[in-house]
Symmetry: C2
Subunit: 195 residues, 2 copies
DNA sequence: CACAAATGTAAGCAAGCACTTGCATTAAAA
DNA sequence: TTTTAATGCAAGTGCTTGCTTACATTTGTG
């Protein structure tokens, strides 16, 4: 089915770029072929159907569990520093995968299930890890003891909202604004969560 | 072009419901006609084109400047109470219009511009009003003096993220969880913003 | 060179799309 | 009752879609 990896990769990249802009349904195989500098038939010879094409693109470029690793290794027990690290890492990961996320957010009637779950699971995972972290910190007297689940949710949703806003904004929200936001919002949460 | 309002409304409602689920491109005029209990031609006799149909749906059901009114009248100068009112009203409005918002978020290659701007302008408007409010409160010594723009942005993005998460979640996030979130997050921000 | 695998080219198919046309039917207004 | 406007129905148009087939061309490998 595939021998020349370069051709396959070109197709996958073009797929991701186009679908991130226009969504799955509105992106045609003809467009993809044109963007990839490849004949349309080649796409079908490589991937069979349009659906399998998107699945291949997801499998190829999907980010692993980077956040989990971060929680296991990167945190030091200092609330302000840790929130900062979390926020920065989160936006890094999300930004690196923003096109895949954009595709799954736009959705479609015929989108593969594996792709669709992406969007909804995204914020939940981090929330659980953060809630555990806050519980631990609270038992050490480093954080107010109240509602770690909802506190984690608030922090998560704030960063998720920031990401989505940047994703859909016409005039790009500058990198600098993002950094300002991260620093100020972490400062806010640190003050709010400190005992 | 239109005489029987009931027929037109049925079409508009069916349009919104279907497009909120499947997006603009993937929703066919035949489906809309079926859902509205109307012949397909009737749609075109009423609205001309599919594009004008969606525009009409937006114009008919679009929420006015409810948030602006809220800022001019509903706030009392008590930080905690005001943030609570803001958050609650925001989620009310967003939830009431969640289908229209869903359509504009999904986007399309041929979506009317007027519709597209909806999604990106949405968070910005409230941010500006909230920033002004914080500035005023700060000059009265009721709020820390630092960066009202970014503080407002953080609050906005948090609520926006919460809304989007609920919008796309498979298992509905319960009304109760939302209320818990609103109360706890407002408490967090109140503490963080108090001098 | 010779052979095979990967790609290009051209043509087309069946289905679905938005949208149109012509005519019959209903029903409300005059 | 006559007229008029709104709708239904059936058929069809032109276009695009994902996908296929058959054959020619390139490209890398022994």
């Amino acid at each position: 089915m595939s021998a020349n990896p370069t051709t396959g990769e070109k197709i996958l990249l073009a797929t991701i770029n186009l679908m991130a802009e226009k969504g799955y349904d509105s992106t045609t195989t003809k467009e993809i072929a044109l963007a990839a500098g490849v004949n349309e038939v080649t796409i079908f010879r490589h991937f069979g159907t349009k659906e399998k094409l998107l699945e291949a693109a997801f499998n190829r470029f999907h980010y692993g569990n980077e956040m989990t690793k971060l929680f296991n290794e990167g945190l030091k027990g200092n609330l302000h520093e840790d929130l900062l690290t979390l926020s920065r890492t989160y936006h890094n990961i999300m930004n690196r995968n923003r096109k895949l996320i954009s595709i799954s957010l736009k959705g479609s009637s015929t989108l593969p299930d594996s792709v669709l779950q992406e969007a909804s699971n995204n914020p939940k995972h981090l929330k659980n890890l953060l809630a555990e972290y806050l519980t631990t910190m609270s038992s050490q007297g480093k954080v107010v003891t109240s509602n770690p689940e909802i506190q984690a949710l608030s922090f998560m949703w704030m960063n998720f909202g920031a990401f989505i806003s940047r994703l859909n904004a016409k005039e790009a929200v500058s990198e600098e604004t993002l950094n300002e936001f991260i620093e100020e919002s972490v400062r806010l949460f640190t003050k709010a969560l400190s005992p």
